[in-house]
């Protein structure tokens, strides 16, 4: 190797600043033309009570995450880490939601380890052979995820994952709305930048009123069946005046919607559903 080659390798840019989201319409409104490849991203979703967020986030996240995992020159690993997800992420659905041709999507998700980490309260972790996640109900997991001990553990787990540079991305569902969370997020944003790993924090809409260290805050709101309203609340650059609408049905042959706010006439005509005899 000559000296030039060595110098080129040393000064080569480590990774691009952003990765296309898979939605060209959305890319146009994100800084650098896509989701960032390092640092904190805050997603605000409707979240009723503690139990079940109205979660169509995967439709927006999955196309980006699978492309970020398959990125050839990133220094991080390929794994995707889901921290305290409110339900079980489901691979067959994620494949379909990734906006790739079927074969490509299957290959990409087969090469991407999908990890799920739960941090419940310390009492449930026994000395040896504790088994609980499979047994606990959905509501229990979500309710516990907001507890202070679970938040501390989740922040620790996120920081470990970011600093280890082992994951293509870390996604954390947290209903916690206290000021501690803001402090934690500031710390995690630094860890995410140093670790060259994006950290996505999915929070209730009410968190939009709180200060946040995230340079990118995006509010998601489903406005009609299959229509996702995306509003970038905070970004580098000008303020986004009004939300854009994505058609997230993601299925070829799905009912085409006439306009962003329109409910498909077929649906309106079908209501109310008859129980099949």
């Amino acid at each position: 190797l000559d000296a030039n080659a060595v110098r080129n390798l040393a000064t080569r840019p480590l990774d691009e600043a952003a990765q296309p989201s898979g939605w060209p319409l959305l890319d146009a409104h994100l800084p650098d033309g896509g989701w960032p490849l390092a640092g904190l991203v805050e997603l605000l979703v409707p979240w009723q009570g503690m139990g079940t967020p109205v979660d169509a986030t995967w439709c927006v996240l999955a196309p980006w995450l699978v492309r970020a995992a398959a990125h050839p020159t990133r220094p991080t690993g390929r794994a995707l880490l889901c921290l305290n997800p409110t339900h079980e992420p489901y691979l067959p659905g994620l494949r379909a939601a990734s906006r790739l041709p079927w074969g490509q999507a299957a290959a990409a998700w087969a090469a991407t380890p999908l990890l799920r980490v739960h941090t419940l309260s310390a009492a449930s972790v026994g000395a040896e052979g504790s088994t609980l996640v499979q047994a606990c109900t959905n509501a229990g997991v979500a309710a516990n995820a907001g507890a202070p001990a679970a938040t501390t553990d989740a922040a620790w787990a996120a920081e470990q994952a970011l600093r280890a540079q082992a994951c293509a991305a870390v996604v954390w569902w947290s209903p916690n709305l206290t000021t501690t969370m803001t402090t934690l997020l500031r710390r995690l944003h630094l860890a995410a930048q140093e670790g060259h790993t994006p950290l996505v924090v999915v929070r209730p809409e009410a968190a939009g009123a709180l200060a946040s260290p995230a340079p990118l805050r995006v509010k998601l709101s489903p406005t009609a069946p299959g229509v996702m309203g995306v509003h970038v609340l905070k970004r580098r650059g000008p303020v986004m005046a009004e939300p854009i609408f994505l058609d997230v049905l993601g299925r070829p042959g799905a009912p085409i919607l006439a306009g962003p706010h329109a409910i498909p006439p077929a649906v309106v005509g079908a209501a109310p559903a008859r129980l099949a005899a």
Partner: protein, 554 residues
């Protein structure tokens, strides 16, 4: 060119005390509390610094020491603990060289570091590293010396500790006559001879375990230093002092071959630490774990292996009055084989920080259950990227999973495994991230059972959520649902006793807090069959069983 032999020797003058203090955390050893003394057969063997300051001397009877210091704390000497400590020390230091020699009646250790200096970045770097390791084991006051023979190094560590290079040639003050050439600094062998010659005689004879009568005899003929003894006629000295002293001197000066039995590492790795006081809180055991990890790492490095499975067992009180309590056993399975003390320490610390002790702990045992051959870490030729120094990505993921499951429990860190199955809940299984690959289906194939046209949700509910039905209208949280799609029929599982018969629809609620959330709901046809049978016999009960469930969210 072959480098001259270099031996690094370590002497523990306060071994009886340090062996007992091994069970105390670092901070407590130096706290100004009661003075301690180690006794054997009612005589003081080793007072600590505070007791020594108050006048307690080795060899005093216990009664005399008590009359000097009424508050003297007394610990009975335990040779077993001392041997165990020397064994741990030798194990920890065996990472630097396989050539280890125990000497000086079990209180000293010499290691042949001739061939290791370059690997560890020079003599000074190696000695600094070794000193740090010894400190991590919890030894407070070791004495070090280097020399070109094992016997000389051991003697210097015992009598005049210090490294050879600290003595600058200019410090030896003699002024050259005017006009004469400045004398060259003495060569290695010459310098060693000078250092040995200058040693005072009585401590040398004690270190070599010679009879006290011999010391009196030699002092009587005017020998004050080791050099004076060497100047005596050899045959006369041999007749009066016996063979032992001459042989020790010849070995130290390099005039006779300096052969020692090498220390042999154990074949399997299992170290035990006995605590002085009971410990009630698991996080307080971290210091003890650190003292067990250093020997383990030494063993692993010397054998060229990396740990994959460890077991830490905590011994509780074994009192005859109470029923004996079984040891608390912590197993640690590592996906990424580890040889690094910091990483192993972190994993065990996280496990301990979450542990609630059932009873106070009196001792710990760390056992290496499985290990793999490990060639060591290769260093990058140049800086490649921010992640490259941490190893390949796969190893980093495994390391991360190990750390997360050490703190959160293995059941909380799971990975999705795809399987070919028509039943939605069986098409994906959550299992250990890498230890269990698709064990149930031996040949993992890309899942193409689910055809691209079959729509699947991105979230699956672990337990399907029952839906209320009001007349013919489906309700979720009190809001009416609209079906979006015709049914997709799933009938499978007759082969493994978990049959399902379901019709899946997509549905949505148009109002309410969860409006526009697309749901994946199913009608359980097996319960319908049953309920229709029920209806024929008992019409009132059938409507109570819900037949519609939410199974997924889009």
């Amino acid at each position: 060119m072959q480098s001259p032999p270099l031996w690094l020797a370590l002497h523990l003058p306060a071994l009886p005390l340090e062996a007992l203090h091994q069970g105390l955390p670092e901070g407590l050893q130096d706290l100004p509390q009661v003075p301690w003394a180690v006794t054997a057969q009612r005589r003081v063997v080793q007072p600590d610094a505070q007791a020594q300051h108050l006048g307690v001397r080795p060899g005093m009877t216990l009664a005399a020491a008590r009359s000097l210091v009424p508050a003297l704390g007394v610990l009975e000497r335990d040779p077993r603990l001392e041997q165990a400590l020397m064994q741990r020390l030798a194990l920890a230091l065996s990472r630097y060289t396989p050539g280890l020699v125990l000497q000086g009646s079990g209180q000293g250790l010499a290691m042949d570091v001739t061939a290791s200096c370059r690997l560890f970045g020079g003599t000074r770097a190696l000695i600094k590293d070794a000193q740090l390791t010894v400190k991590k084991i919890g030894l407070q006051h070791p004495l070090w010396a280097t020399a070109s023979t094992a016997t000389a190094a051991g003697l210097l560590a015992c009598v005049a500790p210090g490294m050879a290079w600290r003595r600058k040639p200019s410090a030896q003050t003699f002024e050259p006559p005017l006009g004469a050439q400045a004398p060259k600094p003495p060569s290695g062998a010459q310098a060693l001879k000078q250092r040995l010659d200058a040693l005072p005689l009585p401590p040398v004879l004690v270190a070599w375990q010679q009879a006290p009568a011999l010391a009196a005899l030699l002092q009587g003929v005017g020998c004050l230093t080791l050099g004076d003894v060497r100047a005596l006629p050899r045959s006369g000295l041999m007749r009066r002092a016996g063979h032992g002293l001459i042989e020790h001197m010849d070995r130290a000066y390099g005039q006779a071959s300096d052969l020692h039995p090498w220390w042999q590492p154990p074949l399997s790795m299992r170290t035990t630490l006995t605590l002085v006081h009971r410990i009630d809180q698991a996080p307080a055991l971290v210091f003890a774990v650190q003292r067990l990890i250093e020997p383990l790492v030494g063993w692993l490095v010397q054998h060229g292996r990396a740990a994959t499975r460890l077991q830490l067992s905590l011994q509780h009180e074994t009192s005859l009055r109470r029923s004996p309590l079984a040891d608390t056993v912590l197993s640690l399975s590592l996906g990424q084989p580890q040889q690094d003390a910091a990483e192993l320490g972190l994993l065990l610390r996280e496990r301990l920080s979450r542990l609630r002790l059932a009873a106070p702990v009196y001792g710990l045992t760390l056992t290496l259950q499985e290990s793999l051959e490990h060639g060591g870490r290769t260093r990058a030729f140049w800086q490649q990227g921010p992640g490259s120094e941490a190893g390949p990505a796969d190893a980093r993921v495994r390391g991360l999973v190990d750390r997360l499951s050490a703190r959160l429990g293995a059941a909380h860190v799971l990975r999705a495994h795809s399987r070919e199955d028509h039943r939605p809940e069986c098409a994906q299984r959550w299992g250990h991230p890498y230890l269990e690959t698709n064990a149930q289906d031996p040949a993992p194939k890309p899942a193409h059972v689910t055809a691209p046209t079959a729509v699947r949700p991105t979230w699956l509910l672990a337990v399907p959520e029952p839906l209320q039905a009001q007349g013919e209208q489906l309700l979720r949280h009190g809001q009416p649902l609209v079906l979006l799609t015709p049914p997709e029929r799933v009938e499978a599982g007759w082969f493994d006793e978990r049959p399902v018969q379901r019709d899946y629809h997509q549905a949505v609620a148009l109002q309410g807090p969860a409006a526009h959330q697309r749901l994946w709901i199913f009608r359980d046809r097996s319960s319908q069959d049953r309920s229709s049978q029920d209806r024929s016999s008992n019409a009132g009960q059938a409507s109570a069983t819900p037949r519609w469930y939410v199974h997924g969210l889009f």
